[in-house]
């Protein structure tokens, strides 16, 4: 290979055009496929969210009927959870950077990787088809709780089948990543020389493999229940609706960690680069990912404290819920300790990463409110819950996604974006976010129930305030993506290492060539050595 051909970017190698993209098994191209499809879904779901907020701008009917509102919050949840937050970081940044960060040329099963994207797309299309066929869009909320999901005439069957297919995509991606990390690490890349993003993907991969099938079978049973009245969840036949909740949350709580672990991993890459300092407590961060994956699998029933569990089991689940906060807090302390006496460079990526820490702390700590039994009864099914999980899912995973996008954008596209504009768009995004979701925490504590299309007079001021917040938030989102979209086509040429990073992706040209490494590197030291000569 000559030097000129080695530097050819990955998207100019092989087949060009649309067909070239959708048939390529290059992990980097697949990552871009995911990125484009996910950001599209994300923007649609943001629009649905804004419509819901506008409905709450006045009392009574504003722009839609109650049934439309029910369909909107279901869709918003299904799209955000299954099509953006859940697959987001692993599928986009995991695909692109996992092989590079461990010094591999691709994932272990490149064709399976492409197949996962097709499963993702098929699942998404099936879910979209459910809106226009059968009895119309599902109106159950994204959790599809029985008995309502069995009784409703809307097209739950197809939407649930879509989610089932998406599960396949998730399992196959997890399986691919775990195998990749076991088999394809470069020579000398021992487990504890891996950067922290691969560590978090490893923990995530196991949760994807071991938890997703449970929701798969639960959704299949729900479909069987609707089609054949099998009776497992139907008390009229002898079944038990609470069993559905158990099975659903046995997956869907660990799924929360599928969402947050890669986000934490990405933050662990960004913070050291812009603090120009080795990460503090590498081993603790790596192991806390595994601890979160393990403990997080044992806390599902904290979603069901008001569903009639025994006093003993709610105590156990409450205790476990408090315990899972420990490894999360370990990570936060380590990030903050990394910043301490670092030489901090406040780039756009760093700004989003620091916002992540701030917002995730609020999200995590309000989670402890929910885990406390007495408080839980008061705030169950209120806006407090909605505010809490938006702080974790959007403030956590969403902001980490934005941070990672700004951090790795020059590497992925070979172009630079306007730092200044990225920081300007951060302002309405961060401001609007906190007005909207902190407002929800307050409203929820006052007693505003979730999933109501209308509200009582005492909540009116609050609703107006948070609706205005949602406008700032969506303005910020549009400005941020607009800036990056413009840069993807019109931005200047990016250098190989614009941020002074020390992980392997920054040793490659921007964008990397199709085979990543011309010669596979040999690793001789732990990651994040910013001053190798002054290291102890």
């Amino acid at each position: 290979m000559s030097a000129a051909s080695a530097a050819k970017p990955y998207f100019e190698e092989g087949r060009r055009g649309f067909l070239g993209w959708v048939t390529s098994t290059d992990h980097k191209r697949i990552a871009i496929l995911y990125l484009v499809s996910m950001v599209t879904f994300f923007l649609v779901a943001v629009a649905l969210g804004v419509l819901m907020r506008i409905e709450q701008l006045t009392m009574g009917q504003t722009i839609m009927k109650p049934t439309t509102y029910n369909a909107l919050f279901t869709l918003h949840g299904v799209i955000m959870i299954f099509l953006f937050v859940l697959p987001g970081l692993p599928a986009v940044f995991g695909n692109f950077f996992l092989p590079i960060l461990i010094g591999a040329r691709d994932v272990a099963f490149p064709r399976l990787n492409l197949l996962s994207w097709y499963f993702f797309l098929a699942g998404a299309l099936i879910a979209v088809a459910s809106l226009f066929t059968g009895g119309g869009p599902p109106d159950t909320g994204w959790t599809f709780y029985v008995p309502y999901s069995v009784k409703t005439g809307t097209n739950v069957t197809l939407a649930v089948f879509g989610a089932f297919v998406l599960g396949f995509s998730s399992i196959l991606t997890g399986l691919n990543f775990v195998t990749t990390i076991h088999r394809l690490r470069a020579p000398g890349m021992t487990w504890f020389r891996m950067p922290l993003f691969p560590w978090s993907l490893y923990a995530t991969g196991w949760v994807q493999i071991l938890a997703t099938p449970i929701v798969g079978i639960t959704l299949v049973l729900l479909i069987l229940e609707r089609l054949f009245h099998v009776g497992i969840f139907d008390p009229a036949i002898g079944g038990d609706p609470v069993l559905y909740q158990h099975l659903f949350w046995i997956y869907s709580h660990p799924a929360v960690y599928i969402m947050i672990l890669p986000a934490m991993g990405a933050i662990s890459e960004i913070i050291p680069t812009f603090a120009h300092r080795a990460i503090f407590g590498y081993g603790a961060i790596a192991m806390s990912s595994m601890a979160i994956a393990g403990l997080g699998s044992l806390v599902w029933a904290h979603h069901m404290f008001t569903s009639g569990l025994s006093d003993f089991s709610v105590l156990v689940f409450s205790l476990l819920t408090f315990l899972v906060a420990v490894p999360s807090a370990i990570k936060v302390f380590n990030w903050v300790a990394t910043l301490y006496r670092g030489s901090i460079e406040l780039t756009a990526a760093m700004l989003y990463a620091l916002s992540f820490i701030f917002l995730f702390c609020i999200g995590g700590l309000t989670g402890l409110f929910n885990g406390a039994l007495a408080v839980n009864v008061h705030i169950h099914d209120t806006y407090f819950i909605v505010g809490h999980f938006h702080y974790v899912m959007f403030g956590g995973t969403g902001f980490a996604f934005f941070a990672a996008l700004h951090y790795w954008f020059p590497k992925m596209t070979g172009r630079t974006f306007s730092e200044r504009f990225a920081k300007i768009s951060w302002a309405p995004l961060f401001f609007g976010f906190n007005v909207l979701y902190f407002g929800m925490l307050v409203l929820g504590a006052q007693g505003m129930p979730r999933r109501y299309y209308d509200h009582l007079p005492q909540f009116h001021t609050g609703h107006v305030v948070i609706t205005v917040g949602s406008w700032f938030l969506s303005l910020g989102v549009l400005m941020m993506f607009g800036n990056l979209l413009y840069a993807a086509f019109r931005g200047g040429r990016a250098e190989a290492n614009p941020w002074g990073g020390v992980t392997l992706e920054w040793t490659l040209p921007s964008p990397p060539p199709a085979e990543n490494f011309e010669t596979v590197p040999t690793i001789t030291a732990p990651p994040y050595q910013f001053n190798p000569e002054s290291a102890p």
Binding site: E13, G14, R15, S24, T25, D26, R105, D106, A108, F109, P110, R111, L112, I171, G174, L175, N176, V178, T179, H182, R183, L184, I209, L210, A211, T212, P213, I214, G216, I217, T218, V220, L221, L224, F228, H229, V230, G231, I232, I237, G238, G239, D240, L243, H246, L247, I250, A514
Partner: protein
């Protein structure tokens, strides 16, 4: 880029991938086993009675069929390892045949039950006690899902047979056949748990 997949032929990696997939399959069935245990604890007596209505002889016969097919599967792989291709494809064909036989038996078993009005939502079943309705609901769900896996397995093994005949699977490169065999054994193992839970619970 088509050469991409070829240049790391990593057998151990392929096997790790397959085992991870099998874990997820086990957990898929795990959800059903949880449901079964929950309801069996709630309705032990009714499960006991309903189980008596299943044809235990047919269930045992099918178990023998499936166990034999696992044996022929293993024999096929070991024949290939010894470069006896004709034996390998004969044993593989036998495995496919036994898988199909299992499905035929299952078909007759199900249609007999449905003929007697024993199926979810049927008027006859709705007159019975809740535990019996659930027993049959679970019976159809679990053996149905298992049946789908047998169909998938037979399809997979048929593809492997074609690859074997066309020398795409060779004594030096048979990890595909080995992984398909692993899948087939999993289908077998799950049935071994279904047999006592449904047919022998009486």
């Amino acid at each position: 880029m088509t050469s991409h997949a070829e240049y790391h032929k990593d057998y151990q990696g392929a096997k790790i991938g397959m085992w991870l997939f099998l874990f997820s399959e086990l957990i898929l069935f795990g959800g059903l086993f949880i449901a079964y245990s929950a309801f069996r604890l709630r309705y032990p007596h009714e499960f006991h009675e309903a189980s008596g209505e299943l044809n235990a002889a047919l269930g045992v016969a099918n178990t023998v069929v499936l166990l034999t097919s696992s044996l022929t599967m293993a024999l096929s792989i070991s024949a290939l390892q010894q470069a006896r291709k004709r034996h390998a494809s004969a044993f593989l064909s036998a495995t496919i045949g036994l898988g199909a036989l299992f499905l035929v038996n299952k078909f007759f078993e199900w249609s007999a039950k449905i003929h007697h009005g024993l199926y979810p939502g049927s008027a006859h079943l709705m007159e019975r006690e809740p535990g019996q309705r659930l027993f049959f609901g679970l019976y159809y769900s679990m053996t149905g899902l298992h049946g789908l896996h047998v169909v998938a397995g037979v399809t997979l093994l048929s593809i492997m047979l074609v690859l074997l005949v066309r020398d795409r699977i060779t004594p030096d490169d048979f990890v595909k056949l080995e992984n398909s065999g692993l899948y087939w054994h999993l289908v077998d193992v799950i049935w071994i748990f279904l047999l006592p839970l449904f047919y022998l619970a009486a």
